[in-house]
Symmetry: C2
Subunit: 411 residues, 2 copies
């Protein structure tokens, strides 16, 4: 019997009605001849309320105790869902992270999964039960409750699907899948039917929500089919899967925009080994998260180093650079805080030329100036002025025909 893992986020279990609805989804999977494992998050704003309760007592609460506190939210949801299923005549059993042996390291608030004891779950599945597992949580070797950090329930679900050899891990959300770009900006964006882990990772790191990177990494590592779909409508969503040959034909799967960027240029830095390391180590010391880095040689002796950071980090970044600039003999520093970055992502870039060309050409025709360009194997990003960011995204989406299903594109 195939095992299906279904994950429901906080908004999908916020009320009694929604819990029943989620329960019915899992029961439907069972009626279709599968075994079902449900992973659930804390209801609605429960986690926020518990955080507020803690903050009232301690503005810097110990992480172990926060994990002990917050893990109760998921535990409540899974018990309630088992209670709901019982009312509908469905045998079910709820499980905490500890009870399914979800062993993590001991890094409270962002623990990493080490192993899962899938025997207990299998035994209950064999008894004809739906197993409802509290997401986001595990225990460390000493029995302390840990939580997995942002997007933790997705990670729990994908890890469970891997451990159980599940046919698919369904992630239920309030959107019906992953879109070619943000439909709030490019209204004609269409749903992506299938996308590779690598593309999804790039999109996630570029701020296109839906799923957290760690869950996707897990899926990639253990080759778990992930189906992102709507908890409201019964339609196919987006399948995240390993790369299949036909994906090579898709030059661009999606496009993103990061709007709140700032850029710092260090001009005339001594061109010798270790200087770049010095600069970015110093930024890290100031807890500045650096986005993209571009280094260009200006001469044998001098180089320029540019990087982008989130707008809110700019003042910290400038402070850090002021402290370090003499040590690297930097001639001058320029900063701009009005930048945005438009990116396109697609595995087809690996084997097809001309993708960058289509992008640059389209932007040029739209009279949008490209400040700088960075690329990875499957991504091209252009930094532009923020005022032109949305126009740039629309231009790129039109150029790559991201308003059409992949088989209808004509380039």
């Amino acid at each position: 019997m195939a095992i299906i893992v279904q994950k429901f986020g906080g908004t999908s279990v916020a009320t009694a009605d929604k819990i029943r609805k989620a329960a019915k989804r899992a029961m439907q999977a069972v009626k279709s001849g599968n075994s079902a494992v449900v992973v659930a998050s804390a209801r609605g704003h429960q986690t926020d309320e518990l955080i507020a309760d803690a903050m009232e007592l301690n503005l810097n609460p110990p992480k172990r105790e926060m994990d002990q506190l917050l893990s109760t939210g998921e535990q409540q949801t899974v018990a309630l869902m088992a209670i709901a299923m019982d009312a509908m005549g469905q045998p079910a059993v709820s499980m905490t992270g500890a009870q399914i042996g979800m062993i993590t390291d001991g890094v409270f608030s962002k623990a990493r999964i080490k192993s899962i004891d899938s025997d207990t779950i299998r035994r209950h599945l064999n008894d004809g039960k739906i197993v409802i597992v509290a997401g986001f949580q595990g225990i460390d070797d000493e029995g302390n409750i840990t939580t997995l950090g942002r997007g933790g329930s997705d990670t729990s679900a994908v890890a469970l699907a891997a451990a159980l050899g599940a046919e698919v891990c369904e992630i239920y959300t309030d959107v019906d899948g992953v879109y070619t770009t943000d439909p709030r900006i490019f209204k004609k964006a269409v749903k992506i039917n299938q996308i590779s882990y690598d593309e999804m990772l790039e999109l996630a790191s570029l701020g296109a929500g839906v799923m957290h990177s760690r869950a996707i990494e897990f899926g990639k590592k253990y080759n778990v089919k992930i189906h992102v779909r709507s908890s409201l409508a019964d339609v196919e969503g987006t399948l995240i899967t390993h790369e299949v040959p036909q994906m090579e034909g898709i030059l661009v799967s999606g496009a993103t925009i990061q709007r709140e960027l700032a850029k710092i240029d260090l001009v005339g830095v001594d061109n010798k080994p270790g200087n770049a390391a010095k600069i970015f180590a110093h930024l890290a010391k100031h807890k500045v998260v650096v986005n993209d880095i571009i280094q260009t040689e200006r001469s044998a002796e001098k180089a320029s180093i540019s990087f982008t950071v989130g707008k809110n980090d700019l003042s910290d970044a400038k402070k850090a650079i002021d402290e370090i600039k003499n040590a690297v003999h930097c001639d001058s520093v320029f900063a701009r805080e009005d930048m945005a970055e438009v990116s396109v992502v697609g595995v087809g870039m690996r084997t097809h030329y001309g993708v960058a060309n289509i992008m640059f050409d389209a932007l040029a025709k739209a009279k949008i100036n490209i400040d700088s360009i960075t690329t990875s194997e499957i991504r091209i990003s252009c930094l532009v002025e923020r005022s032109q960011g949305e126009k740039a995204l629309e231009t790129v989406c039109n150029a790559f025909q991201l308003d059409r299903p992949v088989d209808k594109r004509t380039y």
Copy 2:
């Protein structure tokens, strides 16, 4: 270093301020040179709210899932208290029932404690931490979360005190101890300084709240000193302890009233072995809880059997008796639903005559008719008409001078 166990009920941890206050109590015990273990209940109405959430989904929720659900209330409290102590500079660690190895049987919603692994707690105490344990909960041999039923946190606290060889188990409540009787009826009631487990058990079974019987039984079995005291004021409360010789001088420690009783008389039952068993087995089948039983022989052939039940059980009891009366050849059945029972409890009765006499004499002088009398080794109970119940209690309290400390009584 002596270990002190302190238990705080739901009202004592209902708000952030109250959690801080409870935390300070435990920190005070540490400052005085002790090791402290705190046992806490769920905050205020948390448990009721969770029950309501479950009922919205299922009017008859599975007990295992209710235990899984309700145990989160205590877990939240203990994490929050550890967070509060951290803010005040006190090293502390919170523990669930599972984490301290509180192993119970698998009877969900009213599990019984089988064993406690005190090593983990001792290790933390030796590290200078206050250990804050979630009351009311344990796990069974299969790792399912169980709860201990009514008064469960008291039982957790006393059991922990036993396992740790604690000097005392302090039960903090919103009253400042156990009183000679209900001060709402007999206003001059005084606090009892010291009382034996047996007396406390009798008082608890007669409905005098404060502590649940099971916790007291545990205390008796393992000889744990229990100190019932106020969470609001720093005054001595009531010490529940094993019987000491000087208690023998106290004829009556306390008096109680059970107001909502009904009585059924079976007249002319065939006086042969097994008939009483038949009657009460049938009542048990109807889930009727029987209070007191009196059987009297009327002749070699016929006996009368009377018993009392809660007023609300009367119609069920009558129905059960109607079904069984022919089988035991009962001549006639009488029922009264307007009864109350006044009881006095005291270990001194074991060795002193005349206690019953003082009671009957006082009631006679007050012109209160005694319907029937039942006794145990340390208890005398008189059934009276409900309309005379409170007057009977006051009469008895005055007769035994329950408005005075034990050393000021003159009989």
